[in-house]
Symmetry: C2
């Protein structure tokens, strides 16, 4: 299949171009707005898109518009405006490349996503720093932000899905930052910049990479070693649960729209998602991807999780059926808290204002709990 | 006319209830999102509204939902979540009452708008304080927020329109706060809480009230006396220009979607806006309102303005024609900067992410300019 036959890619061949595009926009809109594009900006850009092949150029054009505003604001010393406009420019280029599959057009767009994001990150206070996670997969870049001040902080690792990567999670990062968390935003091998620029593929035992991320946080000043959390979306939720099963240093974890295994999701998916899944695990063709994906399952792992688990699921999730969640909840032996949203779409992208504060606050409760446990432990060491 | 005949009120009698509601939602949506309701929350609520008489109860219901989340979060010590949820709850009640005209249903809703907003404001850091502006119209309440730290700050007075009041401008307030401004958010006589709870009407020479607001700021610690700015929307833009003409203490001012006079706007308006304008100036009936409004004009005033003026206008403004802006620009003798947005609706509600940073940064430039002038003046006092 040509990667330019968008109606076929999205399983919308039965519709006219216009109708297929309308459906695609409707599916993507909440995610676009949730992850950093102002409603009105998104509305204007999609209003200009009259065919699928205009998606990438129109979004990239909007990215250029905001980049120009950002550059001008920075030159005039308007730091906040420059920072926001650089982030928005990065987001527009991210939405532009989202529709493409590792071809030349995507590779032309993605460096903009990263460089504009990093430029914006430097203007944040405290800055969003580019850091390097050393692991057996080679050094992979991540973003770290640590709130200013003194005292040890809880930290959260954010893991993205098959096509949602580091730069997409800035709004989530901000929700955690304003609640006093340090945030580490990573692309695992096979994801985002780690795949496109480092040519990595996701291994079955990818939890080793996330353990390296935990190692990194434990070496980061001011991070409380007993308050490291992890949160993942979609495939990132699967990664989070794998990591929690393998690494007892997580204080708690949360997964949104997480699958139990990837094969059945792959089989039920339109070509675009099959391609994403295949690229993720290093396969050039979906047939090969399907074979590799057989191994991507939580089977036999979840009973090893010892930390509290928060599962969030939208009951209108058209990607991951609720049966996956039921299986996850039934196999985890530690404390599991399931919160469903009746009108929630995949990864509850239409509930960001409710879901992320809920997760961050829950993690803070756990952190408080571990502090209380610590206090007890210390008290026990004092002779009565 | 019954205030419950919404199609007639909005000039949509030619349409079915369903179609009229769709048009109304489309007109209001950007404003609702721009002024504090998450896109997805707004989308869900309007999705539940099947007829005009469901507007107020559905929005109030959503307000109650967020109030419950806020109260629970506050009880658990989750301050940021509580603050945001109280603000969102207030916004939902504000959108609920917006469709109503000073009747019992509105009076039942509005205290929630104010009390939830004030509760949220107390959780902000620095807090959004309720303060009292003393003037010949009696003491009227306003919101003041002064960024923490040391040093003298620029300040901005925000003025709302015929039906957009203090509590609506929180997102704008935040844009100024993060750029280091103190913000004073007022309801003039005849607007919002000042009308509904204090039974005031807007006098023709309402600039006296805003001068009292300037007096208040000059008595507020840390406000730089030569860096007081004013910004107004729609009728608030008219108020801003009146004030700038009468009070030379403004360092600069900005008006969005500002009319030159109100009579022609009144005459071209559907009944809902005629009622709003009439209530504003204390008339019980539109016929009486129309007579009073004849006096609401900038004629003969604008040549008295001595500070720089920034005019912003959306070229798709269906309330205030561009001819008003042309007349304003031609009569102001001081520096006028006009910035138009080709796709901008009334008061550029669909460009908030671009317009308010632009205004705040421009004011900062003026503040820098006045600092430079001050430096020169001080330098002159030092004998050479």
């Amino acid at each position: 299949m040509e990667h330019s036959d968008f109606r076929a890619l999205f399983g919308l061949s039965a519709f006219s171009e216009e109708e297929a595009l309308r459906i695609y926009v409707q599916r993507q809109f909440s995610r676009i707005v949730a992850h950093g594009v102002d409603y009105d900006v998104a509305q204007r850009v999609v209003g200009r898109i009259t065919a699928f092949d205009k998606w990438a150029p129109e979004w990239a054009g909007e990215g250029g518009y905001w980049e120009a505003i950002a550059v001008k604001a920075r030159r005039r010393g308007h730091r906040t405006t420059a920072m926001n406009a650089f982030f928005l420019a990065s987001s527009c280029y991210r939405v532009a490349q989202h529709i493409l599959h590792d071809d030349a057009a995507k590779m032309a767009c993605y460096p903009k996503v990263v460089s504009l994001f990093e430029t914006a990150g430097k203007l944040m206070s405290p800055p969003l720093e580019r850091v390097s996670i050393r692991s057996s997969y080679g050094p992979l870049h991540a973003y770290l932000s640590v709130p200013a001040g003194r005292g040890r902080l809880p930290a959260v690792i954010l893991a993205g899905g098959a096509d949602g990567w580091r730069e997409e999670y800035l709004p989530i990062t901000l929700i955690f930052l304003e609640r006093g968390f340090a945030v580490l935003n990573v692309d695992a091998p096979g994801q985002g910049a780690a795949r496109l620029f480092r040519k990595t593929a996701m291994p079955v035992d990818v939890e080793r990479f996330f353990s390296a991320a935990v190692d990194f946080l434990l070496k980061t000043p001011r991070i409380h070693p007993q308050q490291i959390f992890m949160l993942g979306h979609s495939v990132g939720g699967y990664l989070t649960l794998r990591t929690a099963a393998a690494d007892r240093r997580l204080a708690a974890c949360a997964a949104l729209g997480a699958p139990f295994e990837l094969l059945s999701i792959f089989d039920a998916s339109p070509p675009a998602r099959r391609i994403n899944f295949s690229l993720l695990c290093g396969a050039r063709e979906p047939e090969q991807g399907r074979e590799i994906l057989r191994q991507f399952t939580l089977e036999g792992l979840l009973n090893r999780i010892s930390c509290p688990v928060l599962i969030i699921h939208g009951m209108k999730d058209s990607v991951v059926p609720f049966s996956h969640v039921e299986r996850i909840c039934s196999e985890v032996r530690s404390s599991v808290d399931l919160r469903t949203f009746e009108h929630g779409i995949h990864t509850c992208d239409n509930y960001v204002g409710e879901v992320y504060p809920l997760i961050a606050d829950r993690f803070l409760d756990y952190a408080g709990g571990s502090r209380r446990r610590m206090t007890r432990r210390i008290a026990n060491e004092v002779p009565a």
